[in-house]
Every structure is written in structure tokens, then in C-alpha cells.
Symmetry: C2
Subunit: 225 residues, 2 copies
DNA sequence: TTCTGTAATGAATGATTGTTCATTTAATTT
DNA sequence: AAATTAAATGAACAATCATTCATTACAGAA
């Protein structure tokens, strides 16, 4: 009868009420099943089972199956947007910041590769406003990397370049870790992948000044962390 | 009653019999619909309509809906495997060959970005033997690029590097053109994208000898084809 | 304990859709 | 023309699931 009342809390993911916690349980279960078996191949019943509840109950916390997908994908993007800045603020040096951002991004992806794939596979089926929100979040994370690059250029460490463009490639290669695993199987470990990509970008972008600056940095304290 | 007889030709895509042509019509219609609306969102009826036939007829040419998906994805990978070598054999110079391979790959992707996305989104739902075949085809195309890089290294133009690793990144960035369009919208044209990526790899990989060699090449005749 | 509102259940519903197959149409042969 | 084979149709079938809702279990208040 009354529509909007029965849905407990429509806040995106925050909150610690019992309602919010139960809701999160459903999202987690759904994420897991969607990631492993695909969205269309997963039934609501299975999600309920995995969350230790009955199928009907899900509809008290979520409008429909699709909303679970939205929430799952948004959680992934949120983890990018949280983890990358957290890594960046630890450093002052522009080059270190860039390196930390790239490394952090790859690590988040590597931590839950299936989740990244989920976003890749299913963003397209979401209704357009939701897609826009997701795109917005992507761009925000990209911006963090862009800023790092811009700072490096301003400091004279990186040569002039289309920043937006370079950062897009960095992000793509980060996602690449997840895309790789099922396309070509496991070839390397994450550390190697991070190092290889960092090397690629730095070698391509450094000015002479940047190169000297960097080798001095490396002698002082090894990168990574 | 008799199963295997009524299916006209189970050959992958070749043949010019009327049967093969009709079969291809279905695959083309399916590819278009799957690409634009998604596999699960497309009904067999729609495919039939688009192909100008009745739903029942499809099953004379194809085992099931899923086989249409297989054929669609395989067609994409086949176009990679055909176009890239075609571009490479036009050149003798190792660096030019690498450049041509990368450019060709990006161009095929850019020509049918939706098709590339199709492969990304739906390979996972295919049965494992089909997935393996697709993976095999991927690797074969990768190998072409790997070979280019190895030749460059042997000639002393590129520095030592993990070849498999570098070629994977090249492929990923090629696919990136398709992945980009719907994630971040259109930022650049393909030509810029090709040039930017080429620049990235060459700057990162060149030895001093390679750099000199390349600038000599560029003065003789501008790259690209 | 009794009452009351909320949480939870899970069988029933209804809509969708891949697939089949009895039937018709067309093409080819005799 | 008649007979035979192949191609094509599309209504009907069967299975699947997302979603609903009548019903039950529960929690706290009076």
C-alpha cells in the first residue's frame, strides 16, 4: 500500500542501523554472486540464501534486483575513490605522489579483480541516470591522477603532455590487471605489474630534470609502500 | 528426429553456400542487437525479425542463442587476427612494423568499438571450451605484437624488456579505445589516440640507437598508413 | 499476559522467452 | 503434373524467475 515507507533507508551505503546492516548483507551477497556467476545468471533466491534470509525480504531493503547491481558497482568505484587519495596524501614530492596513486589504484583493483570486472560488464545495463553517476565517480578518481601529473609537469619533472589522456591510460592499465586475469591467465604478480607500469610512464614522461630528481629519490628511500 | 543432419553447415564462418549466407545473416543481426542492447536483453524473436525470418528458422542454422553469441565474439577476434598481420607485412623495418601493428589494432577496434565491448562483456558466460578458443585467438594476436617487439630488441632499437608484458599493455590500450568511449565519452579522435600511444611506447622503449634510427625514418617518410 | 506494529517468510503469480514441431510453402526431381 | 524433398513459419509449450502478499513470528509496550 505505502511504497516509500517500507524501504528502510535509501541512503547510498552509510549508516549503522540494523536496517543498514541487513541491507549491506544483501549487497555483499549479491556482489559475490554477480561477480562469480554473472548478474542474469544469479537468482534473487540465491542472493537471499547466501544472505541467510528469504527472497521476499530483500524487497524491504531494495527496490529490485537491479538496485543491488547498482549498489555493488558503486561500492567498487567508491573503493577507488577512497583508497587512491589515501595513498597520495602520504607524500609531498610530486613524483612520489604520482607513483603512489598508480600503485594504489592497481592494488585496489588487484584486491578485488572480480569487482572491477563486474563494473566493466554491467554498467551498461543500468538506467542512464545511474550510469551517469558512475561515470562521474570514474572521472573524479581520474582527476586525482590528473592532478598528480599536472603537478609533476609544473615542477618541471614531466614533459608537457595531454594530461587527461595520460591519466586515462594509467587508469586503463590499472584496470588491466583485472581484465588480464581472465583473458590471459596469471603471468606476473601485482608487484611486477605495478613496477612495470610505473617504469613505462616515468620513462616516457620524465624530463632530464625529472630523471635526475627521481634517481636521487630512489637512493634516499626506495619507493613503494 | 535426426539432429545433426538438419543443421546446415557447422563450419565456423566460411563457405558461400546459401545456407552459409543465411547463417551469416543471423549472426550479423545478432551481433548488432547484442552489441547495442546486450545479450540477455535481446530476444530470439528480435534477431529473427532483424534478419527477416521467423524465430524457428534460426534453429536450423544454429544450435541455440548462445551459439550466436559465440559466433559474434569469434568474428571480432578473427578481425583482429586478420587485420593486424595485414598491416605489419607492409613494412620491413622493425620499428615501422611495431608502429603499424599498434596502429592497425587500434583502428580495427575503433572501427567497431561495440563489437570489442561485446567480447569483453560476454566471453565470461560462454562455456569453458569456447572461452579457451577465444583466449587462444587473443594470444595469437598478441604474439604478432610480441614478435615485432622482439625484433626491435634484437636489432638494438628497443631496450631489454618483458616482451609479453609490454605487448599485453599495447593490446590493452588498443582495446582501451572501445572501453573509453562509453566510460568517459569522446575525448579525442582515433588518430590522436594512436599517436599518443605510439609516442608513449616508443619513448619508453627506445635505446639511443633506436631514437636516432626513428628520427631518420620520420624524415624520410612520415609514418602511418 | 495481551496488544500492536514491525520483520520475515515462502508459496503463488504473472510475465517473459528460448525452443519445438505440426503445418505450410517453395523448390527440385521424376 | 505429380511426387518428393527441403525451407520456413509461428503458435504453442515448458521452464524460469522477479516480484508480490497473505500469513506467521517476533519484539517491545502497556
Amino acid at each position: 500500500m505505502d511504497n516509500s515507507q517500507s524501504i528502510k533507508q535509501r541512503t547510498s551505503s552509510a549508516g549503522n542501523s540494523p536496517a543498514a546492516r541487513r541491507r549491506r548483507k544483501f549487497v555483499i551477497a549479491a556482489t559475490d554472486l554477480f561477480s562469480n556467476n554473472g548478474f542474469h545468471e544469479t537468482t534473487v533466491k540465491e542472493i537471499a540464501e547466501k544472505a541467510g534470509a528469504s527472497p521476499g525480504l530483500i524487497y524491504n531493503y531494495v527496490r529490485d534486483k537491479e538496485e543491488l547491481l547498482s549498489l555493488a558497482i558503486i561500492a567498487v568505484l567508491e573503493s577507488y575513490k577512497t583508497e587512491v587519495p589515501k595513498a597520495v596524501i602520504k607524500y609531498d614530492d610530486p613524483v612520489k605522489r604520482f607513483a603512489a596513486a598508480l600503485a594504489a589504484y592497481i592494488k585496489v583493483v588487484a584486491d578485488k579483480p572480480k569487482a572491477t570486472l563486474l563494473a566493466y560488464r554491467y554498467t551498461a545495463i543500468l538506467p542512464s541516470p545511474m550510469r551517469d553517476q558512475i561515470k562521474e565517480m570514474e572521472i573524479e578518481t581520474n582527476q586525482i591522477i590528473s592532478d598528480c601529473i599536472t603537478t609533476c609537469i609544473d615542477a618541471g619533472y614531466f614533459r608537457e603532455a595531454n594530461v587527461e589522456f595520460v591519466s586515462y591510460r594509467a587508469v586503463l592499465l590499472a584496470h588491466g590487471w583485472a581484465l588480464k586475469s581472465w583473458r590471459l591467465g596469471k603471468l606476473h604478480n601485482v608487484e611486477e605489474y605495478i613496477e612495470g607500469n610505473l617504469d613505462l610512464f616515468l620513462t616516457a614522461l620524465f624530463t632530464e630534470k625529472g630523471r635526475r630528481h627521481y634517481s636521487k629519490l630512489c637512493n634516499e628511500a626506495p619507493l613503494g609502500g
